[in-house]
Amino acid sequence: MRCLLVISTCLLAVSLAAQTPAYRAPRTPDGKPDLNGIWQALNEANYDIELHIARPALALQPGPYGPVPAAAVLPLGAVGAVPPGVGVVEGGELPYKPEALAKKKENQENWLTRDPEIKCYLPGVPRATYMPYPFQILQSAKALFVAYEYAGAVRNIYLKDPGPSPVDSWMGQSVGRWEGETLVVDVTGFNDQTWFDRSGNFHSDSLHVVERYTRTSPDVIRYEATIEDPKVFTRPWKMSMPLYRRQEKNAQLLDFKCVEFVEEMIYGKLRRTPLK
């Protein structure tokens, strides 16, 4: 009897686990889960997708008792510090190949000159999802489109596979399909110019991302991205995080055309009269 009880309890537990997600999202008129809305991640992944403790700055120099902020970012003080985060990578450390891990560290040491975000370059995928800016999903029966506030980046998600991307790009080529409650987006055709975060985590042009968007409550999407890049990693790995609906009544994407904001940094030395 006791044995039966244990077995039935186990079976119940197993079946409950298999039943996720329990939430059924509201539907669009064509019967798909409705992802329309303005969403944003609320985590520290853009600083560092891996589990990390707080650091004095993103650019460091050795101090007599440990690292201190590098001279270039010193005036930022606490504003320039790295907030701690539990990480979004599942299963511990990123599975870098040894030479790739060396490059990641080199990237991190040269963050100021190498991070594409500093120059307002397009963020790539999945980084666009968890940058500290909102993004808007526009979903109709005919189209799926994501507009990001950061740098005005955009992604059209093809609902019919147009075949391999004829050209590499910063945001990749996205093809979406529905698996029950989940939007699955297959992203390929990347160049090797974007990063995963401000900590030098990177990929090659062999990057292949599979994203899964699943609504788990009226105001939350569970986001998963499986990363495959045989040139950089020894095996595929996964990140996951909740995305939250912006609750403000007047929530909307505003202009963040940072191209203008980095002109002094990139071209200032070429002014006829450089600023002092």
Binding site: T28, P29, D30, N36, P116, K119, C120, Y121, L122, Q136, L138, Q139, S140, A141, K142, A143, F145, A147, G152, A153, V154, N156, P162, P166, V167, S169, W170, M171, Q193, N250, Q252, L253, L254, D255, K257, V259, E260, E263, I266, Y267, L270, R271, R272, T273
Partner: protein
């Protein structure tokens, strides 16, 4: 009024209307496909390229006959073919001082016509092959600038270019100071907005390339993606404008349906957008109407009392296309702008040495 008189009156009104009828689309009313919310479905990808200029060239009539248009279009096509010949891969460097190639080729045989897609046909509205986008004023010309705007434009020539400035202006003919600072370069060169007011509003053909636009429509939003500089303008339906303190490069757009026409009202431009020299008080009203399974009619009215003495209106057809929009990553490694400025500094250094 007695009955025969009323009858005559009715006939007097109805007859000319009936005579005009074949010109209007009212004869064969087009029933657009509907989105689930009952409004016409405007979604798709559209190619705005056309040979029809914004303003009617002097001495040109408003509408071309089919034969006239066919001849002009054929001439353009043959010129494009000639100018689009492949350049030999092992050609030598252009001679010092340039090879005489004009426009986008920049005197060094840069972009030839192979790369360009400036349009191949005149826009057809209500069956008419138009010679200008502008329909009001009736002469097809943008009204002259007000004295205040001329004053502003004069200052602007030294300060900064306008949102419709093209990149292919002839070097050497630009106003003094044009190369002093990145802020004085055209917005297209800086990768802030596409040149030629391609993003708008008003969204105009740029007569050069990359004229695709994509519309995605939900009950609450209409999004218009401009291919050039990947600008997505998100129009909030049945909403109010943001406070005046919030300024946007493409203005703040709110939309509503008037029957089967999407009406988009845009204000709150930045003082750096400066469409054709307009102030930040620029007000644009756009009207999108699906007129066939594969075309929208786009009509726009532009208003800014400090710039033009009266509002003006243009319209043209947006034909749909099966082309895909690929990423227009403009700012990433924009070495053109860097080298343009570096070239200017080098020239100044050379001139200083001569003196």
């Amino acid at each position: 009024m007695n009955r025969p008189a009323i009858l005559i009156c009715i006939l007097a009104i109805a007859l000319p209307l009936a005579a005009q009828a074949p010109k209007t689309s009212a004869v064969k009313p087009y029933v657009p496909p509907r989105a689930p919310d009952g409004h016409p479905d405007l979604q798709g990808t559209y190619d705005l390229a056309t040979l029809t200029p914004l303003e009617r060239p002097a001495g040109t009539k408003a509408v071309l006959t089919d034969e006239e248009a066919a001849k002009l279009e054929k001439d353009v096509a043959s010129r494009k073919d000639q100018a689009g010949q492949a350049i030999s891969g092992d050609r030598s460097a252009p001679p010092k001082g340039g090879d005489g190639s004009t426009g986008a080729a920049g005197g060094v045989g840069g972009y030839n016509n192979f790369w360009l897609d400036p349009g191949s046909t005149y826009t057809i509205v209500n069956g008419e092959r138009r010679t200008s986008l502008v329909i009001d004023p009736a002469d097809g010309r943008v009204p002259p600038l007000t004295p205040a705007a001329r004053q502003r434009a004069l200052a602007g020539r030294v300060a900064r270019p306008t949102s419709d400035t093209t990149e292919s202006r002839d070097p050497g003919l630009e106003p003094a100071g044009s190369y002093d600072d990145p802020e004085r370069r055209p917005l297209g060169e800086r990768c802030i907005l596409g040149f030629g007011s391609t993003s708008g509003p008003p969204a105009l053909p740029d007569y050069f390339y990359n004229n695709l636009h994509q519309i995605v429509q939900t009950p609450e939003y209409v999004m218009i993606l401009t291919e050039m500089v990947h600008d997505a303008r998100i129009i909030r339906m049945n909403s109010e404008h943001v406070p005046k303190t919030i300024r946007k490069w493409m203005g703040d757009s709110v939309g509503r349906w008037e029957g089967d026409t999407l009406v988009v009202d845009t204000t709150n431009f930045t003082d750096k957008t400066r469409f054709r020299g307009a102030s930040e008080d620029l007000h644009v009203v756009e009207r999108f109407t699906r007129v066939s399974a594969n075309a929208l009619l786009y009509r726009f009215t532009v208003e800014d009392p400090s710039t033009w003495a009266r509002p003006w209106t243009g319209e043209y057809t947006w034909p749909s296309t099966d082309e895909h929009i690929y990423e227009y990553a403009c700012h990433e490694n924009n070495y053109a702008l860097e080298n343009i400025l570096r070239g200017a500094r080098r020239r100044e250094a050379d001139e200083a040495q001569k003196r």
